[in-house]
């Protein structure tokens, strides 16, 4: 049994960290758990440092080829750990203010991150599925953490029921794949499904189930029904996490599973993803126009962003396709976390989460207002931001591969999205504030806003190192 520990070092550190946090949580007296925030934050940084040894070895697969630590999974591990670190940075005062269980929050956050890391690194259907369940089940629990709030209960139960249904659909698809190939390992599935077998109708049925199952997890329309209520009811910090984390995890699993396991049937699943992309973009953007609750609006906006990402998945049989999805996920993660940090500050430490609550924010808290404006500019896709570069790469990847119509739909949708983002920006700069005191955002939240602002601009102005990194990771010979 060969077990190369260096390749799994970040996962092992993260697991140990979750267990250490659990033990420390049990030994601390109630109400004295602030130290856990810094232990978790430091631990995540150590786990990030633990990625380094894996980049130095030539070996890339361990545990019977079940997980691989190639450039692709390293890219996603950095992304997931950054998300977890930023959420932790913003968490301390928020957890105290909402009286959420501190230790459990970090244990669940770390376990979810662990699940997402396995989703990006797996080469086997079983580990992909287990990683997916680990990330999903922790998210359901996190959504319901505000036990006295009926909206939080509703969010948890809707998220759970839809997620369980999605798991069933996905598992049915996976069982068909296993029945057809007798294998759960993606490389071997790819070999067996090569040739005549890839034209069988049953392969198409399996693909439909897989696309639907992953579509649920990513909240692509028409599988998005849980999203608005889950976003609105869950604690804002948790919403920030599952707007980014589990979706990026599902996207990583989709990129790996479909390009390795079903490369021979790519003609079929690219069509399915193209349909999902168009429906998600139009549905998300058009519904977001009518929202008065900012968290709900962000839910629909995230559906639209998944639509943009799926444009890249449609051309994921090429290196630029995969690389553009990875780059956009990076930009999406950063700008979404930044926007949610502002929403969290205005919601928990300010007036509330309705659009009207943002009136005059520019005079009350200029940093938050300018930050949110920058993130919205990035989400619309206006230079010089990461969102613009991300959309530009997605756009050119689609055009290069003959999906001009999809690129045009994307451009139209970016224009539609100006409508709802502009509403909030106008409210912030033109609206009359009811109070004149500034929003007392905690230092951690302000730090997250500042960091994400800098990174969003960096991704816009110095995009090429990041894009080169994504391209190198997507172009791995073992990946295709």
């Amino acid at each position: 049994m060969s077990f190369d520990y260096t390749l799994l070092l970040p996962e092992l550190i993260l697991t140990a960290l979750a267990l250490v946090v659990l033990v420390i949580d049990l030994s601390l007296a109630p109400g004295k758990k602030q130290s856990l925030t810094w232990i978790t934050f430091a631990g995540i940084l150590v786990a990030m440092a633990g990625i380094w040894p894996a980049t130095q070895t030539s070996a890339s697969q361990t545990l019977s080829g079940m997980v691989s630590s190639d450039g692709f999974s390293i890219f996603f591990k950095v992304l997931f750990l950054t998300v977890a670190a930023l959420i932790t940075l913003a968490s301390g005062p928020y957890l105290q203010q909402k009286r959420l269980p501190v230790g459990e929050f970090y244990i669940l956050l770390l376990s979810a991150t662990l699940g997402m890391m396995f989703m990006s690194g797996s080469r086997d259907l079983i580990t992909i599925y287990l990683g997916l369940e680990l990330a999903s089940i922790t998210s359901y629990i996190l959504a319901g953490l505000l036990r006295e709030d009926p909206k939080s209960n509703e969010a948890a139960i809707k998220y759970f029921l839809n997620g369980a249904m999605a798991s069933a659909v996905l598992l049915f698809g996976l069982s068909l794949v296993y029945g057809l190939t007798g294998e759960t390992h993606l490389d071997i599935i790819g070999k067996v499904l090569n040739g005549d077998i890839s034209h069988w109708p049953i392969v198409g049925v399996a693909l439909v189930f897989l696309v639907a199952g992953f579509g649920f997890k990513m909240a692509a329309a028409p599988f998005h029904l849980w999203t608005p209520d889950a976003y609105e009811g869950a604690p804002t910090l948790v919403t920030a996490f599952f707007a980014v984390g589990p979706k990026a995890g599902a996207m990583a699993a989709v990129l790996r599973a479909f390009t390795i396991g079903f490369a021979a049937s790519s003609g079929r699943w690219t069509e399915l993803f193209a349909i999902l992309a168009v429906v998600s973009m139009f549905f998300g953007n058009l519904t977001a126009l009518w929202q008065t609750n900012v968290k709900r609006m962000m839910a629909y906006s995230s559906i639209a962003h998944i639509g943009y990402l799926l444009v890249g998945v449609t051309v994921a049989t090429t290196v630029p396709g995969v690389a553009s999805v990875m780059f956009y996920l990076l930009a999406y993660a950063v700008m979404t976390l930044g926007a949610f940090a502002v929403i969290l500050a205005v919601d928990a430490f300010g007036p509330g989460d309705q659009v009207g609550n943002y009136a005059g924010l520019a005079t009350r808290s200029p940093l938050l207002a300018w930050g949110l404006t920058l993130f919205f500019v990035s989400m619309i896709g206006i230079p010089p931001t990461g969102g613009f570069m991300g959309k530009f790469y997605l756009f050119s990847a689609a055009v290069q591969n003959g999906y001009v119509w999809l690129a045009v739909v994307m451009a139209i949708n970016s224009a539609i999205s100006v409508g709802y983002y502009y509403g909030i920006v106008k409210e912030m700069f033109v609206g009359k504030p009811l109070e004149t005191t500034s929003v007392k955002a905690p230092a951690g939240v302000t730090a997250v806003v500042a960091i994400t602002m800098v990174v969003t601009l960096m991704l816009g102005l110095y995009a090429s190192p990041f894009l080169n990194w994504a391209t190198a990771a997507a172009a791995l010979p073992r990946f295709f």
């Binding site: 049994m1 267990l19 659990l22 049990l26």
Partner: protein, 122 residues
Amino acid sequence: MASQSYIDVGMFAVIAIGFVVVSMWLNRVVAPFHPDRAKLESYECGEDPLMDAQINFHIRYYVFALTFFVFDVEAIFMYPWAVNFRNFGSNALFVIVEMFVFLVILALGLAYAWRKKVLQWV
């Protein structure tokens, strides 16, 4: 065919179900049946039955049920481990550590339930 060995399982099932059916049928045929109000009441060891049979349990029991469930699954995983223990050969150390890690992680769950006082009766 290997499934031959399950014939005794099938026969056992048939006998078990048959025993219940036959004895209940025989009871219906042989026993005298003169119902009155008192006789038709549910038997509660001599107490007068009160209220609905389906009372609301305390939510605390749910945590007991769930703890039981987690350790039930753990037991299922331990069974193939114990049966195979001699067959692991040179890999035995890895497998022992593996099961130990599994048990420690689940024991932490029990410690959590204990420290959070959900196992306390009152």
